[in-house]
Amino acid sequence: MAEIRIENLCKTFHGASKPVLENISFNVDDSRFVSLLGPSGCGKTTLLRIIAGLEDQSSGKVFIGGRDVDGVHPRDRDMSFVFQNYALYPHFSVRDNISLGLRLRKVPAKEIDSRLNRISTMLGLESLLERKPRALSGGQRQRVALARALIRNPKVFLLDEPLSNLDAKLRDRTRGELKMLFRSVKGTVVYVTHDQVEAMTMSDKIVIINEGRIQQIGSPEEIYDKPANVFVAAFIGTPQINLLTGAQLRELGFRTLQQAEGKDGFICGIRPENVSVSGEPREGWMKGGVVMSEPTGAVTILTVSAAGAELRFSTGLKWPSGKSDIWFNFETERLHFFDPAGERRI
């Protein structure tokens, strides 16, 4: 039983004028995988470090397993932390790196050995145990850091962008492995990332943060299908969502319910994949000019200029290179509407 509850957390660094975190509240249910997602510099690491007890909050509370951990030393919070740069002890062997925490907790040597064996087999580190970290590749170091986190069997795992130092291919593979791993040990995980794909694929729940404030909390589907504001809509999904004002829609000749109701002050978002395109004129469709087409294999990304706006469409059609004229239509039920300031979904 180790749910995490964060209540009204604020943080202003000593001497800084602007708070890094403002009024952060969310909870992580027992054995759930929650991602903190946001652009670089938004305060994710700071938030994770406060949960770990490596940094003090200015105000607010952190509960781990129902216990207020204010003033509790990091080693007594029953959590493991995986640092972005792994922070392995350079002068210790892999074996000592992994087992130090257990030895300091006076776990019997036999027990340490058996756990070490299990973990190092699980992570494929058996043949590396006597090496020093400097003799390991990036991926191997990352697995040593994970092993060090796992071996103590903590209730809570805090991970700060553990995949960001891996090359793209390894990252893709490790994503799935990590998800399975933490599911199998039934750990409560808080996972910091700036990579939306990681957050979307791994999480039960995503907390999106921007400039120290929570933008939205929800499952990956909710966040994708019902973004709470323009920031979330634009941050999630590649290529980025197309954002158009009411006036631009009108110029395109697209009528919406909102406009039918006589309102014009709104922002409309349409994801690139929720657009139908055609090379032939169609009744009631809008017309534009293809500026660029980027085939990615499965789909082709089209950059289209229409009514003074630049739009991105993603289509399964093979678009003939050099063909300019395009006709397109939006899937009406997939449109997202936000207030003019872009702060609220309507």
Binding site: A52, R75, L88, R134, R148
Partner: protein, 273 residues
Amino acid sequence: MKKQLSKTAFYAFMLISVAITLFPFIWMISTSFKPPDEIFTKHPSLFPSRFTLDGYRQLFAAVSMWTHLFNSVIYAVFVTILSVLFNSMAAYAFAKLRFPGREKLFALLLVTMMVPGQVTMLPVFLILKSMGLLNTYAGLIIPGSAAVFAIFMIRQFMAEIPEEILEAARIDGLSEFSIFWRIILPLCRPIIATLAVFSFIGAWNDFLWPLIIMLREDKYTLPVALASANGQYNTDWAFLMAGAVVVVIPAVLIFLLAQKHYIKGIAAGAVKG
């Protein structure tokens, strides 16, 4: 061809440099084994034709060698151990601990480096005298057991150790002192070995401070004892050179033993993860 030539020139140059550097040492060693008539001759040879240990015999007869050797060893060893300990602890505080006024205090410390040692020697002497520490090992050792320059060097080295390593250790459950002892110190080994060699050789060769603080003859360190014995017996070169050899040998040994770490300490600026 040209490359070959410049290489030859380079080696010739190095050889000459080494010869010039080593010559006084060889001369010193050779003189210490010469009988007097071979020293005071118009055509001195590099190597003694009649090898004698008279110089050493006189030395050990005139000076209570073991007493002074003991004093010197005490001085050098304790200064080395204490300065490694204190300098690295101070450096750790300045590099890794957060406390108010840290930067100002460190700046103040650096400023004191601009004051030459000779200026503070007298006040330090008076302070120690008032504490009753003249003619004591404590009085000899304590002033040398911390050095701003060493603190500065170690601090620079420690600053390169990522904060996250210390935090990982904290989460793993190491106490603050264990973090210093088991993580920080081993990672600083190159720089600490370098500074340890410096302070050992510095204390071993030190003349002025032991001369000032140790007034009784039985408390003289080796260099002081040799200098005072030399005055007493005129300048007996074999005797003097024998003394110099005895002083130099430990310094050279230490240097050779620590060479591996020493060079690393000078070359390395960073801790590689």
